[in-house]
């Protein structure tokens, strides 16, 4: 009898990378569903436009790379989903499509496609849209009015622009938790976002080492440099709930491909991300500049990994030598 050879170990965990992407899509679903309660079916259509176009573009991009189209790996769907979730519910349908096209053709495919990209494609697509169409990007309809014709929407002032203008805000915490204020599709329902974070953490699709330092630093920044005059609690609440900071912390900063893999690197990365995001908000030109901060941060991810690993490895070796465990 002859047998196959192979490479050890011969026992592998039956975990697949696609489950991680599936988890992200599952986490996006309740956010969209919640948005649909406030605005009618339009958020769902925006989301579908984003996801389907991203998958289509990914297929075309893979043809250029002479690879089989990678629909099944789910990365494109996640990119499209994240882009669409940050769009305004009243965004025209071409906006998620344009963002997805930029994300796939300019950010993902040139670096070698799924798993090899240096920058987060969703952040790139959002940066493109923010730069080119900031007017439409930051126009949010008032909640509880189903959207029919997008030319005739009742617009509401978002938290971000209120914070920028330094105007007094009168949102109650309960309203913020259930997302009863103008904002993007997937980022307003804070309670649901937190539930999604718990789900993703529990499924180990995102890392607590990135998420917590990111949120902690954002909170600290909001305490130290408040933009509202009504006390630090209010400042923290409004900063965390405005724009897509919390959403970015859960879905974009923690993107496994573009973030460090070593725990200490992740901590530094999350903390640096928090500082950059808050700087972009307070000093940047747009009411929300998360995507730019994340693009800058992405370039340093391998460095965070290597430097922090070396620091830990050397310390550990030193200790072991001291205790005589290692030669």
């Amino acid at each position: 009898m002859r047998f196959k050879r192979g490479k050890p170990p011969y026992l592998r965990k039956r975990d697949k990378a696609v489950y991680m992407r599936l988890d992200v899509l599952i986490a996006l679903a309740p956010l969209v569903a919640f948005s649909c309660i406030y605005y009618g079916m339009r958020p769902l259509y925006v989301m579908l436009h984003g996801i389907i176009s991203a998958m289509l573009f990914d297929g075309i991009g893979n043809l250029f790379l002479r690879r089989p189209p990678g629909w099944a790996d789910g990365t494109a769907a996640v990119t499209g989903g994240i882009i669409a979730a940050v769009m305004s519910p009243a965004a025209p349908y071409w906006m998620p499509i344009a963002a997805a096209a930029f994300a796939i053709f300019a950010i993902k495919i040139p670096f070698g496609g799924a798993g090899r990209n240096i920058f987060n494609p969703a952040a790139g697509g959002l940066a493109f849209i923010t730069l080119c169409f900031d007017g439409r990007m930051f126009t949010y309809p008032a909640p509880n009015t189903p959207i029919g014709d997008i030319t005739q929407i009742v617009t509401g002032e978002s938290l971000g622009s209120l914070l920028r203008s330094g105007a007094a805000t009168s949102f109650k915490p309960a309203d913020l938790l259930i997302g009863d204020f103008p904002g993007p599709i997937g980022t307003v329902a804070i309670a649901i976002l937190l539930a999604c974070a718990v789900y993703l953490l529990f499924r180990r699709s995102i890392s607590v080492f990135t998420l917590l330092p990111f949120l902690a630093v954002c909170t600290g920044y909001a305490v130290l440099f408040p933009r509202v005059g009504t006390g630090w609690e209010n400042s923290v609440m409004l900063e965390l709930c405005s724009g897509y900071l919390l959403f970015a912390g859960i879905f974009i900063v923690t993107d496994p491909v573009t973030s460090p893999k070593f725990w200490l690197g992740r901590i530094f990365y999350g903390a640096a991300g928090g500082i950059l995001v808050m700087l972009m908000r307070t000093a940047g030109r747009f009411e929300e500049g998360c995507c730019f901060a994340i693009l800058i941060l992405n370039t340093f991810a391998p460095a965070f990994d290597r430097l922090s690993w070396k620091a830990i490895y050397r310390t550990r070796t030193y200790w072991q030598r001291l205790k005589g465990v290692r030669k």
Partner: protein, 422 residues
């Protein structure tokens, strides 16, 4: 903090049902066994002529290089010719085929007095019996001599099998834990060290009776449950450790006291293609075919592994020989290796690596041919445990690549193929 320090994996235990069955003894009487002329790959000349009678202790080969151990037979039989065999652990071997006969000598040799043995006697016995340590495949007498020169304080018998299937160490201990413990004491005597403990990974109800049999509660030491059990050069109190397999300890005792050759070992035959998994004591040189025959197959195996699932090597055919170092034989049906993908960045490989490396980064350097940066990532501290490949959701061959980076010692690879573009 626990999250940061708990490296390694918890593997599913599949030692049942082999572990609760008594050991099957496969007598050499009617078998044809194949004895290697040399384990080390050095050239050796066979000293036997056709139909010559072979008996335990008879020299069968003469090595072309000086300083190689003398190869001796461990069975009664008739020499039937030479054969080449490939072995997953030892590579290509030239073997002498011997048709065994029942031993004409019926009574066992007189036992020496255990208390009167001197260190030199132990080393001599280990050399004469040709004992090979199943942990690393080295000759035991060489290992002992090396440790004796470099000073060592503690001798440990390692029976901690924590990869899932193998239970041969437990079977051997269940048979004769007293003799193993005496073997540890003999090794300690030879090294002028302390007989430390027997490392096991067993449930309390299996561990307790062993400790009672050797009247020493502390001697049976439970290693951590996670795979791999970390193997330190020194223990946390700075004592240098010599680690010997339990089967080698038993063989050392039998050799020093009874003058027996190291001629057989206990092998766990298991895997999902095997009908009734058992522990079998088989003479060295038996083919795997015979062992599989005893246990029966319920499906056609796709792979045959010599060793346990995590670190075992795949054999090409079932004519593979049972030699020292083979303690587990697995016949598996399923296709374990998933499709290869690109890294999705989950970081699980970093989380499980007990050596504290960045497997994904090392592999990326290898793939991008940045060999000059490899050395600083310390692939040389990888012991090939395979945890990183086990957890990788993208199904990458991490441990294989890290091991190859380690073995080439970060020198530039010279593996250009003909059709590679430069």
């Amino acid at each position: 903090m626990a999250l940061l320090t708990r490296k390694g994996l918890v593997l599913p235990s599949r030692i049942e049902p082999a572990v609760s069955q008594p050991v099957v003894i496969l007598p050499a009487d009617t078998l044809r066994v194949y004895l290697p002329l040399s384990y080390t790959g050095s050239r050796a000349r066979c000293l036997l002529s056709t139909n010559e009678v072979v008996y335990p202790g008879k020299q069968i080969a003469e090595s072309a290089d000086d300083g190689q151990p003398v190869m001796r037979a461990h069975v009664f039989g008739v020499f039937a010719g030479l054969r080449d065999a490939s072995h997953p652990l030892y590579g290509q071997l030239e073997c002498a085929a011997i048709d065994c006969m029942p031993s004409p000598v019926s009574e066992s040799p007189a036992a020496k007095n255990f208390d009167k043995l001197r260190p030199a006697d132990v080393l001599e016995a280990a050399e004469a019996a040709g004992i090979i340590d199943e942990l690393d495949g080295h000759y035991l007498y060489r290992k002992l001599e090396e440790y004796r020169e470099n000073y060592c304080d503690l001798v440990i018998a390692d029976g901690a099998e924590n990869q899932g299937y193998a239970s041969s160490a437990w079977a051997v201990m269940n048979e004769s834990v007293e003799q193993i413990w005496m073997g540890v004491q003999l090794a300690a005597l030879a090294l002028r060290a302390t007989a430390g403990q027997i490392n096991v990974r067993l449930k309390r109800n299996r561990r307790r009776p062993l400790a009672r049999r050797i009247n020493n509660e502390k001697a049976i030491f439970q290693v951590r449950r996670r795979y791999p059990a970390v193997k330190l050069e020194k223990n946390p109190w700075g004592r240098r450790i010599c680690r010997i397999g339990v089967q080698a300890c038993l063989a050392l005792y039998r050799a020093a006291v009874y003058g027996e050759m190291h001629g057989s070992c206990v092998v766990t035959v298991s895997g999902d293609a095997v009908k009734s998994p058992r522990n079998i004591r088989a003479p060295f040189g038996t083919t795997a075919e015979k062992l599989l025959e005893i246990c029966g197959l319920k499906a056609d195996p796709v792979r045959l592994l010599s060793g346990d699932v995590m670190t075992g090597r795949a054999a090409e055919s079932d004519r593979m020989l049972i030699l020292p170092g083979v303690t587990c034989l697995l016949a598996l049906t399923e296709e374990a290796v998933p499709a290869h993908g690109v890294c999705c960045g989950c970081g699980r490989c970093v989380g499980v690596c007990h050596a504290g490396l960045l497997p994904f980064e090392i592999v990326r350097r290898v793939e991008n041919m940045q060999y000059e940066q490899l050395a600083s990532l310390r692939p040389d501290t990888c012991d090939g445990c395979g945890c990183c490949s086990h957890v990788c959701p993208a199904g990458r061959e991490l441990s294989d690549q890290v091991s190859s980076a380690r073995d080439t010692n970060s020198r530039i690879y010279s593996s250009w193929e003909e059709e590679d573009e430069i």
